[in-house]
């Protein structure tokens, strides 16, 4: 397994869920922008599951040395790369913040996903699981830089899924709603709609095993977004979501 965004709580929960369910990986490759932090998790799964892993430094905001990724192959890729950034209220016109949101969630992520997609295409097998967000369904005033970057990612994944279909490679787009992680700590999220990393991992694993194309976490978000998507624009533009 290849993991992008290795310090994400959801990514780590997903890795543990796979291992707990008996999945076997010769090696797990952790691509990480903070390898030291990832060491802790690598040690953890070694103790808990005897799982061998390799940590490969990769920071989307810096130049990527693709040579270090050449020998990394696997039939399963999980990507939790993401950056929420500042909300509209706090940093809409903060260019550095904007650039980072767009880069980490889409612009600099796509070439890396492409790199691994190409490998899977040539082997004619594999699954890519990538975390987008419900925020990508519709730009809303409170965080539309993030929302638009995720919208771009969702469209990319949909196109990639289409392209790779007859090459026997699956692409699963995961759309989390609210999640209880460090990224959202302190935000007033309705607990009934919020998934813990463990719950999210369980849902994603199920969707992966059932070869789904799109998975909402928690599933209720599929209904919420159905409604949100269909609110006419002349009404939506007045809302304060």
């Amino acid at each position: 397994m290849i993991v992008l965004g290795s310090n994400s709580e959801v990514a780590q929960a997903f890795v543990e869920e796979c291992l707990a369910k008996g999945e076997k990986f010769p090696t797990i490759y952790f691509l990480s922008s903070n390898p030291e932090t990832t060491e802790k998790f690598a040690g953890h799964i070694q103790v808990k599951f005897f799982q061998h892993s390799e940590i490969v430094p990769l920071d989307l905001m810096n130049e990527i040395d693709y040579k270090t990724l050449e020998n990394i192959n696997s039939d399963l890729l999980f990507c939790a790369s993401g950056y929420l950034g500042l909300s509209t209220e706090d940093g809409l016109y903060d260019d550095e913040n904007t650039e980072r949101i767009i880069d980490v969630n889409y612009a600099k992520l796509v070439p890396v996903l492409n790199f691994f997609a190409k490998k899977m295409e040539s082997k004619r097998s594999g699954t890519m699981i990538v975390l987008s967000s419900v925020a990508g369904e519709r730009g809303r005033q409170s965080n539309f830089i993030y929302g638009s970057a995720k919208a771009a990612l969702t469209a990319y994944l949909s196109g990639l899924r289409n392209y790779l279909f007859d090459k026997k490679v699956n692409v699963l787009t995961v759309k989390p709603g609210f999640m209880d992680t460090k990224m959202t700590e302190g935000l007033p999220l309705n607990p009934a709609l919020t998934a813990s990393p463990k719950k999210a991992a369980e849902g994603i694993y199920k969707a992966y095993k059932n070869k789904k194309d799109v998975a909402y976490v928690l599933p209720i978000w599929a209904i919420i977004m159905l409604i949100i998507r269909n609110i006419p624009e002349f009404i939506f533009k007045k809302l304060k979501l």
């Binding site: 802790k40 103790v47 460090k182 007033p188």
Partner: protein
Amino acid sequence: MKPNFIQKVTNWGNFPVVEKEMRSDDSVSKIKKFVRENNEVIARGNGRCYGDASLGEHIFSTKRLNKFTSFDRLNGVIECESGVLLSEVLEISVPQGYFLYVTPGTKYISVGGAIASDVHGKNHHAEGCFSEYVIEFKLMNENAEVMTCSREENSDKFWATIGGMGLTGIILSAKFKLKNIESSYIRQESIKAENLDEVFRLFDESEDWTYNVAWIDCFQKGKNLGRSILMRGEHALKAELTSNLQKKPLKLKEKFKPTIPFYFPGFVLNSLSIKIFNFLFYNKQTKKQLNNFIDYETFFYPLDVINNWNKIYGKSGFIQYQMVIPKENGKEGMRQILDTIAKSGNGSFLAVLKLFGKNNPQAYNSFPVEGYTLALDFKVNKGLKKLVDQLDTIVDDFGGRIYLTKDSMSRSSLTNYLQNVDSSKFVSLQHKRIVNNN
């Protein structure tokens, strides 16, 4: 949206409920920042204590400090972060032939919590408290420095922190020993005792057993006062098991866990329903003595089987009352306590009675003293404070004290026994209440 870290927090008894700032992180630098920027910080593990322990103005939750660092399978030594639960330790240790030396009645407590409470189990008389097997731990102190504490290094801090209820700092990680087991089963003997005298006698006779506990029906009065079932056990050796069980001696029990999905309305648990439950519990064992083999989950963690069993008590919650009375007059003290409880009509399902052995004098903040300890639940209601007061008086008269991990409203004379824990940096609501004599 500015992050707002203030949230409703409560422990296992759902009493009291407070609204305080609570943060959680696994980065040492972020934890340092939290400690530096705040006074009245208190660490919190899984919140399985009762009352107002681990509640404070600025609560640090160790839930994200949940990684294992190492497991020395040869010597049975585990090293992990303080938020790792004992249940998670067992998941990896049992299949490898190791069990916790000391475990309380639930496995859903954190390693940090086990140290801060210096928890005890059914084997205190034989094996002591959790701290006996702790080799070292890393503590973040008042100056936001990380100290390694052991019997050899920073030993002052080591002993102050053991049983110190988090008042010396935040435990970040720990290294501790596990015991060898041949199977995940317990050879158990359950013996019915008609009254208190009989159960005391059985405890004395069971000295050589590793695990001893008695479940008492605290609604019984008169000649049936202290009617109970004593359960004693040993880890089953592989050779003792039936051939069927011998095939997989270290099997983990399958996890079907019913959940209590919502708070039961207040009237469900009342003295009548509890009396009926207790009656059935005592009488379901028809023989005087029953010997069998049971899995460790059922023996050690009968309540853990039901998720959220605390909701059975309803929204107003409940308190746990646990005291220890020194052995010399322990029997008379217990008699008076049980008598008072039975007369009050207030009671829990089952009260748990244990006989503590001598505690390690180095662990001066640790709760157990050689004597009898009784633990039981009381639903929160109007007459409760008066009852607790009556019981406190008896405990006081007999020179006993109250377990801080359970305490919510006992008098300070019974709870003010911690030493070397005064710091403006680490303060819990419980400590404030005790020190201010509220």
